[in-house]
């Protein structure tokens, strides 16, 4: 899900360069004339923040949540969603053309900050990010919501074998066929990691797709008994699947958190974003992803509904 084609990337980069310069020009001309006193925002929210997002639905949804909550707190917000892949938006936030982006700590670390890092737990990943990020950037408090690889089984299989965690698979693995993308066979957090961390050896590995329709069909048809499915794949709800817990962090943490451009931050912004992260869970994100991706609900409606339900500014 974090991949994108090189040609698309180049096109998007070009488009971004143009839109970013336009946006900067717009900020420069509009902020002096903007109203300085906002009855809701206190004195702290005088600057405009630019909220960006990557080019996939879940990330846009998260950006919309940030945007609605900050607007409700009186912060002047410009939305710049659907920018592209991390390779495209990361340079933009580094120079402050975008000031807030919803991120995934593990992927941010290994694609843009330290490609050789082996940090796996949320704490270790965040520590590596805090020391590795350039001085203009920082990560705020991580949410407990994670969008990461997992060992996923059907609800029926989990019930029949009393499973909630990968650690409980043990000898059962020898009777199971595991499905995942072909590269899962050679990745250190793939079959190798499952063997090293949990001592699991599966009966067979079937090379399928990356948490896509083929993997989901194989799992629900019983062609495979477990598969690598991303933890916020909405079909987890509709196909009655269970992502098993990963207590040994075989799959590196991918907590949702805001990546921010430090000079643009105020205490209102930081506390609003941290309040969102405090309430955001994987289950909550999964339900919102289902609404947006499978039920084609409107982003704003879903984001607003969640903020309201959690008692957050909306």
């Amino acid at each position: 899900m974090f991949a994108s084609s090189p040609t698309l990337k180049r096109g998007a980069a070009l488009g971004l360069a143009v839109t970013a310069s336009l946006a900067l020009a717009a900020c420069g001309s509009s902020s002096p004339s903007g109203k300085s006193s906002n009855p809701l925002g206190g004195g702290s929210a005088s600057k405009t923040v630019v909220i960006g997002s990557a080019n996939f639905p879940e990330n846009e949804l998260l950006a919309e949540i940030y945007s609605l909550a900050l607007s409700a707190k009186g912060v002047k917000v410009t939305d710049k969603f659907n920018i592209g892949s991390r390779e495209v938006y990361y340079p933009e936030i580094k120079k402050g053309a975008v000031t807030i982006i919803p991120e995934y700590n593990g992927a941010l670390l290994t694609t843009s900050v330290d490609t050789t890092s082996t940090a796996a737990s949320t704490q270790a990943v965040d520590a590596a990010l805090t020391s590795g990020l350039p001085s203009t950037l920082e990560i705020l408090t991580p949410s407990s919501a994670q969008d990461k690889d997992s060992v996923t089984v059907t609800q029926a299989f989990a019930t029949a074998h009393h499973l909630t965690s990968i650690a409980q698979l043990g000898p059962l693995a020898k009777t199971m066929v595991f499905g995942g993308p072909s590269e899962f066979q050679t990745r250190t957090d793939g079959l190798i990691g499952l063997k090293n961390n949990y001592g699991l050896t599966f009966k067979k590995f079937d090379a399928l797709d990356e948490s896509g329709p083929i993997t989901l069909a194989a799992l629900t048809d019983g062609k495979v008994q477990a598969a690598d499915v991303f933890t916020t794949t909405p079909q987890i709800i509709t196909d009655h699947l269970v992502a098993l817990a990963d207590p040994k962090n075989n799959f590196a943490a991918q907590n949702v958190l805001p990546l921010v451009y430090k000079p643009a931050m105020t205490s209102t912004i930081t506390s609003t974003l941290n309040a969102i992260s405090a309430k955001l869970t994987t289950a909550g994100l999964l339900a919102m992803d289902k609404a947006v991706i499978l039920d084609h609900a409107n982003y704003s409606t879903v984001a607003q509904g969640w903020l309201k339900a959690e008692g957050l500014p909306n």
């Binding site: 072909s182 066979q185 083929i214």
Partner: protein
């Protein structure tokens, strides 16, 4: 040259020639997928082509449908079927059969309908039944074109059976998909090279088959007309 070097380095390693992931096993799986698909495609397309050609009705429609049919993307159909019917024994078979039908159907129709009307008249004049005209006159005369259709289908299918690996099955596509996923270009190039060799082998097989099956009279005629 890069491709050939990659392929050669991978192919000459003894590790590729043994075990359940070895080339002999993968070639057998690949030929199995191909043979079954071509047989089923022929079982559907041959009778239809013969009948349409013989009665001369619906030929235009059938040929056009078959040609439009060729535009169905095989991989797209495969993924659609996975989503619609899931993993059944037919999921991989349907796209390959669909790919194999048009060449056989069109060539059989053209072969039968192209038989000289005077010959058919003569056959009827000798008191042959419809069935005898088809079986003793039209079919033998159409054999060269029918064989060509089968050959085109077999080459299409042998080259496309790689898609079975896309849904976790075996065959030579395994090398291409696994190699691409792990940046092992030797495996990709080596697997592709084996598929090329198989396609050429199919070609040779049909050249031999033509010698065996085409009626002697037709072969003499072809030689005389050169």
């Amino acid at each position: 040259m890069g491709f050939l070097n990659f392929a050669w380095d991978w192919l000459k390693s003894p590790a590729q020639w043994h075990g359940p992931d070895g080339i002999p096993v993968r070639v057998l799986q690949h030929l199995g997928y191909t043979a079954l698909s071509v047989l089923i495609a022929a079982a559907i397309a041959l009778p239809v082509g013969l009948l349409i050609g013989h009665y001369g009705r619906g030929g235009f429609t059938a040929v056009n449908i078959a040609n439009i049919w060729r535009a169905i993307p095989t991989l797209g159909l495969l993924i659609l079927l996975v989503v619609l019917i899931g993993f059944s024994a037919f999921t991989w078979l349907i796209p390959l059969v669909a790919l194999g039908i048009p060449p056989i159907l069109v060539n059989t129709y053209e072969g039968v309908s192209g038989v000289d009307p005077d010959l058919k008249d003569a056959a009827r004049g000798m008191g042959m039944t419809q069935w005898q005209v088809l079986w003793k006159v039209e079919l033998p005369l159409a054999v060269p074109l029918i064989l060509l259709g089968l050959q085109v289908t077999a080459i299409f299918v042998v080259a496309t059976a790689t898609i079975a690996a896309y849904i976790g099955l075996g065959g030579l596509g395994r090398y291409i998909i696994d190699g691409l996923a792990s940046n092992n270009y030797g495996e990709v190039a080596g697997g592709a090279a084996v598929i090329v060799v198989l396609a050429l082998a199919v070609q040779v097989l049909f050249v031999g088959l033509r010698r065996l099956v085409v009626p002697a009279g037709l072969r003499q005629q072809a030689r005389a007309s050169k």
